[in-house]
């Protein structure tokens, strides 16, 4: 690592007093330190956000607010989260390891960088690491690459599981900008596609801070599921994952959410399939049709066509699991 100044900020004003073009924020550190050891990030100043931002979970009338510094473990152990938003716990618990979840924070999880192997290998060109240097993955290994929304400049995917659940549940990201103004960004618009500037993962403005994430109430109850397919049973990033949530009334699907990880540069919502399932019967036949519709929208790369098959199975499984989870819950 390159030497850096270290500042423990006490509030957001104090955070902004120490920012510069070469400063970086640290929360749990599980992604930033890894990247600093590989010289992918080389900040001159590190600003510790832990004492500056909230680490509490607050129940509101219309939903729940997760402070930016809440650890992933704390979120999964929260009784309100588990009662009203079980999809969130399921997704978080499908990721990383207990040690990492004890350290990783809500905001850090949103802002973690891709796990594209070429992004990590400084000997190989990567547009995300260095603008206009090329893309190692375009003609390389593509197991960890996307199958939807990729560009000629970058085919990487966002690695988070937590974010897939947040995308499915229409969460909002709360932000404070450097001029102290605040804004809320709907989750589906927070992360972005690579297009011509893959160095940008999301739409957060420079040095703005995430103060928390809000999840609105829903009627999905336990009719939710998170299916994650990976290289081993645990402690590995998703090849593909599916978050599904159903609200069923009078034998019909009143509301449905379907989102995926491991397929795109952002947590991906399958809006067409959601529309297709609305007002239909919650049957395996319809679930299979929805899965077929979903895979018809994908554009795999030459070396990751297998992910389409995985995805199809994962969508069907997730929707079926929603039904069994309801009866169990």
């Amino acid at each position: 690592m390159k030497p850096f100044e270290f500042h423990r900020a006490i509030n957001s004003d104090d955070v902004f007093k120490h920012i510069s073009t070469t400063s970086k924020y640290i929360a749990g550190g599980t992604n930033l330190l890894d990247l600093m050891k590989k010289h992918i990030h080389e900040p001159n100043t590190i600003i510790d956000l832990n004492s500056a931002l909230s680490n509490t979970i607050e129940q509101k009338n219309d939903g729940i607010f997760l402070g930016a510094m809440t650890t992933n473990t704390k979120v999964t152990e929260n009784t309100i989260v588990n009662k009203n938003f079980p999809l969130v716990s399921k997704a978080i618990l499908a990721g990383a390891s207990p040690q990492i979840r004890n350290m990783a924070t809500t905001s850090g999880n949103l802002l973690q960088r891709t796990r594209c192997p070429y992004f990590y290998d400084t000997n190989i060109p990567c547009n995300k690491r260095k603008s206009n240097s090329g893309c190692g993955a375009l003609n390389g290994h593509q197991r960890m690459a996307g199958i939807v929304g990729t560009s000629q400049n970058c085919v990487a995917v966002h690695p988070s599981d937590f974010c897939v659940a947040l995308a499915a549940l229409d969460a909002e990201v709360f932000i404070t900008k450097t001029d102290s103004t605040t804004e809320k960004i709907p989750f589906k618009d927070f992360h972005r596609l690579p297009e011509n500037n893959p160095e940008k993962d999301n739409n957060l403005s420079d040095n703005a801070i995430i103060t928390g994430v809000f999840i609105p109430n829903n009627n999905f109850g336990n009719t939710v599921s998170y299916v994650k397919i990976r290289e081993r049973d645990s402690y590995a990033f998703a090849l593909v994952s599916v978050a599904a949530a159903l609200e069923i009334k009078d034998d019909k699907i009143k509301k449905v959410r379907l989102a995926s990880g491991g397929v795109a540069h952002k947590p991906w919502r399958w809006f067409e399939a959601e529309k297709f399932l609305k007002n239909k019967k919650a049957s395996r036949d319809n679930f299979i049709k929805a899965a077929e519709l979903i895979v018809s929208k994908t554009k795999p790369l030459p070396n990751n066509t297998f992910k389409v098959t995985l995805l199809k199975g994962a969508v069907e499984t997730a929707l079926m699991q929603c039904l069994t989870n309801t009866s169990n819950g």
Binding site: D34, P98, Q99, M103, D233
Partner: protein
């Protein structure tokens, strides 16, 4: 006389030659050093040393450490507590697992500077004098290791796993121990050891 005169002449010449050579030698490194320092100041940031106070295995420490120091390096390099192991140094193996304020965490991805006022427990802090911790005993009993390199991390993680209550079944133990990789594949011994303590 002539002999001594010659000797004197020789030594004077010798003195002049060698002293100028020494002067040159003394001057060159100095200017190189100054030049090097200039370059260093322009291109490399100076290391930053921070005061850190924390508690490790019940003992208070007041230390000064480079801002880049991870908790793992602080333990191993600065304090000679080498029980905690460095496997991957990138959060992928769990060999460096310690408890921070009672929760298991990876010391390789923790900055020492962020441990201000925290309580750390390492493998050295588990035993009570000569009496091993029940989990240490169980690892011995159930052959929970082969080469032993991952073992301190496994044991720290295992103690936390039991405290958290994630030991209802072998499957649950395996899932909640998945952050600790064992190259020797002693997994069955490890899960059996944990199961025996959990009961």
């Amino acid at each position: 006389m002539s002999h001594s005169k010659n000797e004197n002449t020789f030594s004077r010449r010798f003195f002049i030659k060698t002293s100028s050579a020494f002067t040159a030698l003394a001057l060159v490194p100095h200017s190189i050093k100054a030049f090097y320092n200039d370059i260093k100041e322009t291109y490399f940031t100076k290391k930053v040393v921070l005061p850190i106070y924390l508690k490790i295995n019940g003992k208070d420490y007041n230390l000064n450490a480079d801002s880049r120091t991870t908790l793992l390096d602080l333990l191993r390099e600065n304090l000679n507590l080498t029980g905690t192991k460095k496997g991957c140094d990138h959060g992928q193996c769990g060999a460096c697992t310690v408890h921070i304020n009672g929760q298991r965490a990876l010391s390789c991805l923790s900055l020492a500077a962020m441990m201000q006022g925290k309580e750390i427990t390492t493998i050295e802090g588990l035993a009570n004098g000569d009496n091993l911790h029940p989990m240490q005993e169980a690892f011995l009993e159930h052959d929970g290791y082969q080469c032993g390199y991952c073992t301190p991390g496994q044991i720290m993680s295992a103690v936390a796993c039991v405290n958290e209550g994630h030991t209802k079944s072998i499957e649950e133990i395996k899932e909640y121990m998945s952050g600790n990789i064992c190259r020797c594949g002693a997994y069955n011994g490890i899960t059996n050891a944990i199961k025996s303590v959990a009961k």
